[in-house]
């Protein structure tokens, strides 16, 4: 299994996810779910085969983590759809997954087989996979925020009860995964580098992002009616998350100072 076959698997999965998205708009929830699940199975098979052929989890480079993100987005979309029946959510997750697949097709950042000793740890896979899942959930929350702020609110000036509650749920779940991902990183760092927290730039930005989502949750508890402010905060928090995820690779203050840059 190599990256050359990625386009075939990715294309098949994207078509299936698109079928699911269209089916959701047409109120065919059985087909929506079946097609999305099949697409996940196809994409998941590629990840599994990559894992086997690389002889290590495909988690090391940005290209490889994007693979997981493309996988988790439709998964989160499916869960939200199955639970709340938002017809648009599968369209969103499909479009987002397509973007990440396209980035991988056109800017693959492909990857050798070797894994430096510090990354050969049982913490490696759970740390990154849980983080990617958190990012997918918080990405869904971000899209909810944009949707509610700029499209929905104008039609519903009195407030957004159910939609806000879904957004809160996504943030709570995302933050829970982010917390566990961060802690797994800390426990791993203790084994690999001798300390659980070193204020490495990636860690500093992880802390910034974590605190920012905590502000959102506490603000929602205290001022449930201040929805626009909360949603704007969610957009800002997602920007911080992007800096944490890939932005620090371009941030002057983080150049050459992070143990989290392996790809170069």
């Amino acid at each position: 299994m190599t990256w050359q076959l990625f386009s075939y698997f990715a294309l098949a999965a994207l078509i299936l996810w698109a079928v699911g998205a269209v089916a959701a708009w047409r109120h065919n929830s059985w087909l929506a779910r079946a097609a999305t699940i099949t697409g996940l199975a196809v994409f998941g098979t590629f990840i599994a085969l990559m894992w086997v052929s690389l002889e290590r989890p495909p988690l090391r480079t940005m290209g490889e983590t994007r693979l997981w993100y493309s996988f988790f987005l439709p998964l989160v979309g499916l869960v939200v759809y199955a639970r709340w029946r938002y017809r648009w959510i599968l369209t969103f997750s499909t479009v987002m997954a397509t973007v990440f697949v396209c980035v991988n097709l056109f800017k693959p950042e492909i990857h050798d087989k070797t894994l430096m000793p510090a990354l050969q740890s049982p913490w490696f896979a759970p740390h990154v996979i849980i983080y990617m899942f958190a990012y997918a959930l918080l990405g869904a929350a971000f899209v909810m925020a944009v949707y509610l702020l700029f499209f929905k609110r104008r039609r519903r000036p009195k407030g957004l009860g159910a939609e806000m509650s879904l957004t809160d749920q996504l943030v709570r779940a995302g933050l829970a995964f982010m917390t566990v991902g961060m802690i797994f990183g800390a426990l791993w760092a203790k084994e690999a580098w001798g300390h659980y927290w070193s204020w490495d730039p990636k860690e500093t930005w992880a802390a910034i992002t974590w605190w920012a989502y905590l502000v959102y949750l506490h603000l929602r508890l205290r001022y449930p009616q201040r929805q626009a402010e909360a949603l704007l905060l969610l957009v800002a928090a997602f920007v911080l998350l992007q800096v944490c995820w890939w932005g620090i690779n371009y941030l002057p203050s983080a150049q050459g100072a992070s143990v989290h840059t392996y790809a170069s």
């Binding site: 087989k113 829970a176 300390h195 659980y196 910034i208 605190w211 205290r222 002057p252 203050s253």
Partner: protein
């Protein structure tokens, strides 16, 4: 402002006050000196902080003093969290240098203290505000105890323990480098600033193991030290240490840090194994907090907050 009820305006103002105080301290007494917190100062400080938290909790809940009650509320939490985001953001946007790095004369940010944010008074005071408020909140939810508060307590008390013990304990943490050559027992190690420390244990390297990837660059795949740890009471513990697989002995954790070659040698015999020895007596307390946070995060996933109507103290999880 300052007319009851207080809200986010007052919380925001507290932050401004702390930043101002911090800047005054920074440019009069100088940056925070964490080494001063070494045992037993940190234990005394911990006792003082906990006493202070208890006093504020008592004054707020039993005496009805408004400011103390408010300090355990959500507006104060939002303000403190928001300011902590700002302070950490400054740290994330400014290139940081190690504590013991010499003064950077060509960098005005260094003169301001922004390149050593962990010693920067405004950041320390803002984190202290957050931590102190967290302590008050924990006490308020702990007494009287209700089982329904357990998820809340796991998250908040877990974070409190990590913040308090991680920070106060940092001054007691020792990180030393030890260079061991084959069959030459070594009991001395070096601090970051080059002081020699004699340890209660010695290390006798039997064999340094090195494996490479089968690629053209021959990048290292695995390196490990097969060694004996000798203790003062005459015991000899055989172990293999490699990256991600440290060993523990007598309160020290021993890590494979790197390797080097003695000048003028070739082959395996001339390799010096570099070990890092770490002692962190506060680690069990920090780990307890970490495990509480994990348990709390699981609750966060599976529990939805109850709807309540009072606006004062309604955080459930």
């Amino acid at each position: 402002m300052w007319s009851k009820p207080w809200n986010l305006t007052e919380a925001f103002t507290i932050g401004i006050g702390l930043v101002t105080t911090g800047l005054l301290l920074q440019y009069t007494v100088g940056p925070v000196d964490w080494d001063m917190l070494a045992w037993p100062v940190n234990a005394v400080l911990l006792a003082l902080l906990v006493t202070g938290m208890a006093a504020v909790w008592w004054a707020g809940t039993r005496r009805g003093i408004y400011a103390c009650h408010w300090l355990g509320g959500l507006d104060n939490a939002i303000g403190a969290l928001g300011w902590v985001v700002v302070a950490t953001l400054v740290m994330g946007l400014t290139r940081q240098v190690p504590f013991n790095a010499p003064t950077l004369h060509d960098n005005p940010l260094d003169a301001l203290g922004l390149t050593r944010m962990l010693s920067f008074w405004p950041l320390v005071l803002l984190y202290l505000w957050l931590t102190f408020s967290l302590g008050v909140v924990v006490l308020r939810r702990l007494i009287p105890f209700h089982w329904r508060n357990v998820p809340f307590l796991l998250l908040h008390a877990g974070l409190l323990m990590v913040l308090l013990c991680g920070t106060l304990g940092s001054a007691d943490m020792q990180r030393l480098k030890m260079y061991v050559a084959k069959s030459t027992p070594e009991w001395r190690a070096l601090t970051d600033d080059g002081r020699v420390v004699e340890l209660p244990l010695a290390i006798d390297l039997n064999q340094f193991v090195m494996e490479h990837h089968n690629d053209s660059l021959r990048t290292p795949k695995r390196y490990a030290s097969d060694l004996d740890i000798l203790t003062r009471d005459g015991r000899r513990l055989h172990t293999v240490i490699e990256v991600n697989r440290p060993a523990s002995a007598m309160g020290w954790r021993i890590y494979q840090y790197g390797y080097d070659r003695m000048p003028g040698t070739t082959g395996h015999e001339g390799i010096v194994s570099i070990l890092e020895l770490v002692r962190d007596p506060w680690l069990p307390a920090v780990y307890t907090g970490i495990y509480m946070l994990i348990a709390g995060a699981l609750f966060l996933l599976f529990i939805t907050p109850r709807k309540k109507n009072d606006t004062d103290d309604l955080a459930t999880v």
